[in-house]
Symmetry: D2
Subunit: 155 residues, 4 copies
């Protein structure tokens, strides 16, 4: 009993839409994150390790782990929304499964359930370095679609 | 039916302990966060707004909101732990209640339930600017105490 | 920096509205839960201990703890909604702080942030018996208001 | 980048261990839930629809949905623990994706990350009736292993 998802995007330009919105996030530039995959309902973001992103034990800070996977979930949701929509995170939960050490980190967000108002996504963060990639965090997130808010750019 | 908490710290130097651990977090320096209050079971962190910390609508990025409140919760937990202990976030959930706009942001973490192994904290983030401070996010977090891990500095 | 909430209900009959909706929940009758307080944005539900509600160690099952506090949060949200609205839980997180043993349990739900679409509530469950009431669980919940859905009774 | 899990149980009698613990849960009997699958790190529980388990719109109550998936996660964690261990839920988050209507409900819990102290599980609930099974809820849960607590039966 598995559910397979093949999502049909409502915005044919979903890819450039996500790229534009990502580029507008100054925080992504600050931490050095890159958008590496955009498919309907699935987005990946990569973050190379940097020592100025760490917590007290020298691992990637849980807040940075959250930043990239929150974004991966948000853009996965946005990829299925109509052209004039904006997406906001309502809430998320993150479990930190292993210390976030590695050369770089890959955050993947997937839409579990798209909706007219509410979209639910799951997210994962893998650390990549020597050996097999390792799952370091998992997210379950709720997002909301906003339409027609004056002064709010889509994205 | 309210529960009042007056916590007795196991480490008389809990204040400098939290300060030292905070200072070791390179990510706090990167984003410009400051430790502004350390009491037994309660910690506050302040983050001035900066345009390089924003998401696509120009508000403070949810990941940055999470970074400071995760830390406030973690250090609130650490303030009640013995001198040789380390603290790690097991998981947290954040509800984003209002757009994070303001001149600065105050994250407050409080211990709800300290434990031998598991500590549960609640966190809040307020935006401060014109008018009344506004609650922009609330967190419920689970932390774990580690002791005697070789190679892991306390904090 | 505390936020005080005095909520003005949009439905003057909010009290009977919550009572009617509660009475329609067959599950409340099955487990023996009672509605004991309804104020704008705050609801309390009481559940006497029964041995057929327990988990393997003889404590109240976490699912039953969740059932009453999910309801307390849902009805707290409903108490602030207009007469024709329905409320549904989008998601919740529960931390189980202490074994749920006691003669009875009090679940309290409070609105943290009411909204046009999304309402965020916090919930607590106390065990009551000998000695002081004890906090056994805490919830952070997201609810959605539905209006004008044919075939869906308000509540 | 997927992580495959083949777990080796520490207790060769994990199956009867889970069955015994399940049978000791009076709440499972009250609501009519049945244990239908026990594998290392994966457990399924089925719950036939009953009108006395419903909320105000006649769907299965979110608390009952949570009860079965919390159990599926807890027993999935227990299936990988040594014979003298007990398992308790530390916390969980549930997203309710669709109204829980159907003839019966299948809750599946899977271990994402087993640990010496903390185990993290994901859970799903499907509604089964006419047509395809439908995902109605998803859980992300943190559990703790207890050993050597006097007066606490394993399970």
């Amino acid at each position: 009993m598995e559910q397979k998802h093949r999502f049909i995007p409502k915005n044919p330009d979903f890819h450039s839409r996500v790229e534009t919105s990502f580029a507008r996030q100054a925080a992504m530039n600050l931490i050095g994150a890159e958008l590496v995959k955009v498919e309907p309902g699935e987005v990946e973001i990569e973050l190379p390790f940097r020592s100025d992103l760490t917590q007290q034990h020298g691992f990637l800070h849980a807040g940075m782990v959250t930043t990239i996977v929150d974004n991966a979930c948000g853009f996965a949701a946005l990829s299925l929304m109509p052209p004039d929509a904006s997406v906001l995170s309502v809430e998320f939960k993150v479990n930190l499964l292993s210390p976030a050490k590695g050369e770089r980190f890959l955050a993947r967000g997937k839409v579990l359930k798209p909706g007219q108002t509410i979209t639910v996504c799951s997210g994962e963060v893998f650390s990549i370095g020597e050996g097999e990639p390792k799952l370091v965090a998992t997210m379950l997130a709720t997002l909301i679609m906003l339409q027609g808010r004056p002064g709010m750019v889509p994205g």
